[in-house]
């Protein structure tokens, strides 16, 4: 809770542009257009490794962290089970769809298996949320962590559905219209489309009654009840929406790796999602994606870097940990908070120099 509280305080300096936030701030922002174009033409620039291992993975992890951002940033609830929900959806795709483990997979076509997986994972997450909303603050974290840990150990020990510690391998990916949608370029565009959809949906809903009500619940749940809102119903609904987003990311993840095993839903991986969201910043939907990019870049390249300076390459988590410490120490609202404050400090200088002339207008 204190994370979100501090974040709120930090947002204040940027309020001069508040009215613009009512609509779509991206439309007037040239940087956003540049990022959009780069993302769209990425297959022309990047090779398969970068396209999938860096950018698609970033977008998938970012979407998982986006579901946490929705809960923590708007509704003030820190959930550690977002990766568990994604993992549950991934398992369900493997169980209902086609995989190398024919004794387990039911062999449904992907267009039946995926909606089933999304529905079941959303129900699972909503049920977990209904338990978690009975508590506040640290107890919410504990309950969701307990759900995540329980799911991890359950998948390890259950062979009938989850195939124990070996997991489910060679999960089939969609082929239709003559396209292998798991080939690097088509898969990148699927991931990009889902991530963009989730990002804009969260951005849109944040200004709709549902999103405003969540922010009201975050700021003062008691007053929300005194305004006629059923606070717990809103919290559970937030879990339902966040679960659906996490489940979408989970489906993409199982298509990405073509397998799912307990290692993918470990407690450590659950905490990674929290780190991604906090490092990026949970005050705005873009934060989780920035956090995911930093996380993926560190995870991929820190190894080489560490070896180069004479350390054990497996210590890449040390770098992530130090980065996490630095971020929460200097900027409680993550990288986007740093960025906003830097912009803020630049603006008066620019206004003085340019006589108030502000670029595009």
């Amino acid at each position: 809770m204190s994370v979100t509280h501090d974040a709120r305080v930090q947002v204040r300096p940027a309020t001069a542009q508040r009215p613009a936030l009512r609509g779509w701030p991206e439309i007037n922002n040239p940087a956003a257009w540049i990022v959009a174009v780069i993302l769209l033409i990425m297959p022309l620039i990047a090779n398969g490794f970068f396209l999938i291992e860096i950018f698609a993975t970033t977008l998938i992890l970012g979407t998982m962290a986006l579901s946490l951002m929705l809960l923590a940033g708007y509704a003030g609830m820190v959930s550690l089970m977002q990766l568990t929900i994604a993992g549950f959806a991934a398992y369900m795709v493997a169980v209902f769809g086609v995989s190398g483990n024919a004794n387990i997979s039911l062999g449904w076509p992907w267009w039946l298996a995926v909606p089933m997986a999304l529905a079941l994972a959303t129900i699972f997450g909503t049920f977990g949320g209904a338990l978690a909303v009975r508590t506040e603050g640290i107890y919410t974290i504990m309950i969701t962590l307990a759900i995540g840990a329980a799911f991890y150990y359950f998948t390890n020990q259950n062979w009938a559905i989850f195939n124990g510690h070996t997991g489910i391998n060679t999960v089939a990916t969609p082929h239709f219209w003559g396209v292998d949608w798991r080939a690097d370029i088509p898969f990148y565009y699927i991931v990009l489309a889902v991530a963009a959809l989730c990002y804009f949906a969260v951005e849109y809903v944040s200004r709709a009654p549902f999103g405003l009500a969540l922010q009201g619940v975050r700021d003062n749940p008691r007053r929300m009840a005194a305004l006629g809102f059923n606070v717990n119903a809103h919290r559970v609904a937030a879990y339902a929406v966040a679960s659906f987003i996490a489940a979408l990311a989970g489906v993409l993840q199982v298509w990405n790796y073509r397998q799912i095993s307990p290692g993918s839903v470990s407690v450590g991986a659950c905490i990674d999602v929290l780190i991604i969201a906090v490092v990026g910043g949970i005050t705005r939907p873009i934060g989780p994606y920035i956090g995911a990019l930093i996380f993926v870049l560190l995870r991929t390249f820190a190894l080489d870097f560490l070896v180069k300076i004479g350390l054990d390459g497996n210590r890449f988590r040390l770098l992530i940990g130090l980065g996490f410490l630095a971020i929460v120490f200097w900027s409680s609202d993550g990288v986007i908070g740093l960025w906003q404050r830097w912009r803020q400090s630049q603006r008066p200088a620019a206004n003085r120099a340019g006589g108030g002339g502000r670029g595009h207008g």
Partner: protein, 260 residues
């Protein structure tokens, strides 16, 4: 202002708010003991009493923030004793808080919009309000009514104390209130702001009744027609403002020697 008798005869027998034997315990401490109050629709009443007399606990029991330990609460004839707060609010009950309970991360406009949305349908709507959204207009009107139109796009965290108190009132007047509980609305206000507060309260439509907790007698006695005096969690005395003001027991207990 009409006399109490005129008001009472005009509204008939149905009570807006009826508390019977309401008791609220906090552990062994009885914050309220056997409180029985009847307030008629449109009636405006002050609740006076020293700190710890149980005034705010009374409000919390009426709104359901803390349910009473025993006793019944009826709101326009309906037994709401076991209703959650939001069900009572949707029936036309409103309250303000002694310490402003606002949404500091949202703008003034969004605060008021939430208040309007809370007592109407579409609380879970995923669609942004359009240009001609009726509730947006309602929110605009309320923002103007409490003189906050100039700061409506500012986050509440940036408002001055007096503006926050005005917003606190606006949130309680959203939708179609039938009865409002004002918990020390003048706390921390300047004399000018107190005058504005009195104007807001006296200009409320006559069908909206309220109970006001207020230590400032200049404010309290100008905006009410009846007074309930509380002491140690019990009803101590009820009457017209001038009766209470001149009652020697009340003076002894509450106004003290320093009032003259």
């Amino acid at each position: 202002m009409d006399s109490v008798a005129q008001r009472l005869s005009a509204v008939g027998a149905g009570a807006a708010l009826e508390l019977r034997g309401v008791t609220r315990l906090f552990g062994a401490l009885a914050a309220l003991t056997d409180v029985t109050i009847t307030v008629r629709p449109g009636e405006r009443r002050a609740v006076l009493g020293s700190n710890g007399a149980g005034k705010t606990t009374l409000f919390n029991c009426i709104t359901g923030d803390f349910p009473p330990s025993s006793g019944t609460i009826r709101f326009f004839g309906e037994d709401v004793t076991h209703f959650p707060p939001y069900e009572r609010i949707r029936r036309g009950l409103r309250r303000t808080y002694q310490i402003s309970a606002l949404f500091p991360g949202l703008t003034v406009q969004d605060n008021v919009y939430l208040a309007c949305r809370g007592v109407s349908r579409g609380r879970f709507s995923f669609l942004r309000p359009g240009q001609n959204d009726a509730l947006m207009h309602a929110a605009d009107n309320l923002v103007q009514a409490v003189h906050l139109a100039g700061v409506k796009d500012q986050p509440v965290a940036e408002l001055a104390h007096g503006q926050q108190r005005q917003l606190e009132i606006a949130l309680a007047l959203a939708g179609a209130p039938r009865f409002v509980l004002f918990d020390e609305p003048a706390a921390g206000l300047s004399p000018t702001e107190r005058q504005e507060l009195v104007e807001i309260l006296t200009s409320l439509p006559a069908h909206i009744g309220y109970i006001i907790i207020e230590h400032d007698m200049d404010v309290a006695l100008r905006v009410v027609e009846s007074v309930t005096m509380m002491h140690n969690g019990r009803i101590f005395k009820e009457g017209l403002p001038q009766e209470i003001e001149s009652d020697p027991e009340v003076q002894e207990l509450y106004l003290g020697g320093g009032h003259e």
